[in-house]
C-alpha cells in the first residue's frame, strides 16, 4: 500500500496543505505549478459534488458522508470535519494489512480513524493552536509553498504527519 498524495482543503476550496509522496515522482514527469493547482481544484470540486450525490442516494436515517472513492488507478480517502475542513488522502488499491487481508471493512474504517487522528491530534495541536495562526491566513501556491502571513513550516505539522503516516501498517 503506498500513499501518493495528501491534501487539506478549507470550506471554500482553498488548499491549506498539500504533499506528494515520492513514490510517484519516478513514474510521472514533473508537472508545473499551474497544473498541480488545477488538479487540486478538480479534487475539491469532485469531493464537493460527490458528497451531494451520496447525500441524495443515501437512505433515510443515515447521515450522508463520503469515506472513500476507488478508481482503477487508486483510492481517495476523505474525511470532513464539521467546520468544513476536508482532508483527502490518495493511496493505491491493494490493502496490505499484514498476513491476513480478510478484514476489508476494518481496513476502510482504519483510514477514517487515521484521518480523524491527523485532524484532531496533529492539525489541531500543531496548526490551530499555534500562536501565529489565524483562520484564513494560510495560502498555498502551486508548488506547495506557503504564501501569506502564516507559514505551515513554522509548525512541526509536516514532520509529525510524516512520522504518523510512516507508522501506519499500510504505508510504504
Amino acid at each position: 500500500m503506498t500513499v501518493h498524495a495528501f491534501h487539506i482543503f478549507d470550506r471554500k476550496g482553498k488548499t491549506l496543505f498539500t504533499k506528494r509522496y515520492s513514490s510517484i515522482v519516478k513514474n510521472q514527469p514533473v508537472q508545473d505549478a499551474e497544473l498541480l493547482s488545477e488538479q487540486r481544484k478538480l479534487i475539491f470540486g469532485m469531493l464537493f459534488s460527490l458528497r451531494e450525490l451520496v447525500g441524495s442516494l443515501t437512505p433515510e436515517g443515515e447521515s450522508p458522508a463520503l469515506h472513500s472513492v476507488r478508481t482503477g488507478a487508486g483510492t481517495l480517502h476523505c474525511y470532513e470535519t464539521i467546520s468544513g475542513l476536508r482532508m483527502a488522502l490518495y493511496t493505491n488499491n491493494n490493502p496490505n494489512m499484514g498476513s491476513n487481508a480478510r478484514n476489508l471493512d476494518t481496513s476502510k474504517t482504519s483510514f477514517q480513524n487515521a484521518l480523524k487522528h491527523i485532524y484532531s491530534e496533529l492539525w489541531v495541536d500543531c496548526v490551530v493552536r499555534s500562536p501565529l495562526y489565524r483562520p484564513g491566513d494560510i495560502q498555498v501556491d502551486g508548488n506547495g509553498n506557503d504564501v501569506g502571513r502564516f507559514d505551515i513550516r513554522s509548525t512541526n505539522f509536516e514532520k509529525k504527519l510524516d512520522a504518523y503516516l510512516a507508522s501506519m501498517p499500510w504505508f510504504r
Partner: protein
Amino acid sequence: MGFLHLFIVNKSGGLILHRPLGQSAPRIGTNEWLRIGSTFHSLHAIAAEASPVKLPGNKNSAGADDGIEEIRGGGLILKCLQTRTGVKFVITAEPGTSDLDAVLREIYVLYSDCALKDPFYELEMPIRCELFTNAIDNLIEKVESGGFKTR
C-alpha cells in the same frame, strides 16, 4: 442485504434506466434521477483525471476508460461497472451487502440478453423492456434469498 437502487447511464451521460431494488431505497423523482445520472457520468471521468497516478492510456484492465469503481459513504456503497462501449451500470446498496460485483456483471449479461437483443430497442435510448426489468427483479430476489452462486 439491502440493495437500494440500480441506474444505467449511456455513453453520453443520459440516464437510460433507474430502478429501486428494495424498500429502504429513498424515493427520488425523475428529474432528480436525470441529474444524478449526468452528475455521476462527469464525476466518473473527473475522478480518473484528478488522481495523482493514472493507468496507462487511462484504460483499466477491462479495456474500458478508467473512472470511479466504488464509492463508500456513511450508510451507502455504490459500485459502478463501465463497459468498453461507455455504458455505466451503477448499483447502490447498504453496507454489508455482499456480491455486488457479481450482481453488476449479471445485470450486464441481462442487459445484453434482454435489451440489446430486443429488435425494437434503440441504443442509448431509455430501456422500456419488461423482460429486462422482470429479470432484474428475479435476480435481486434470488440474491437476497441466498440462492445466487457467483460464476
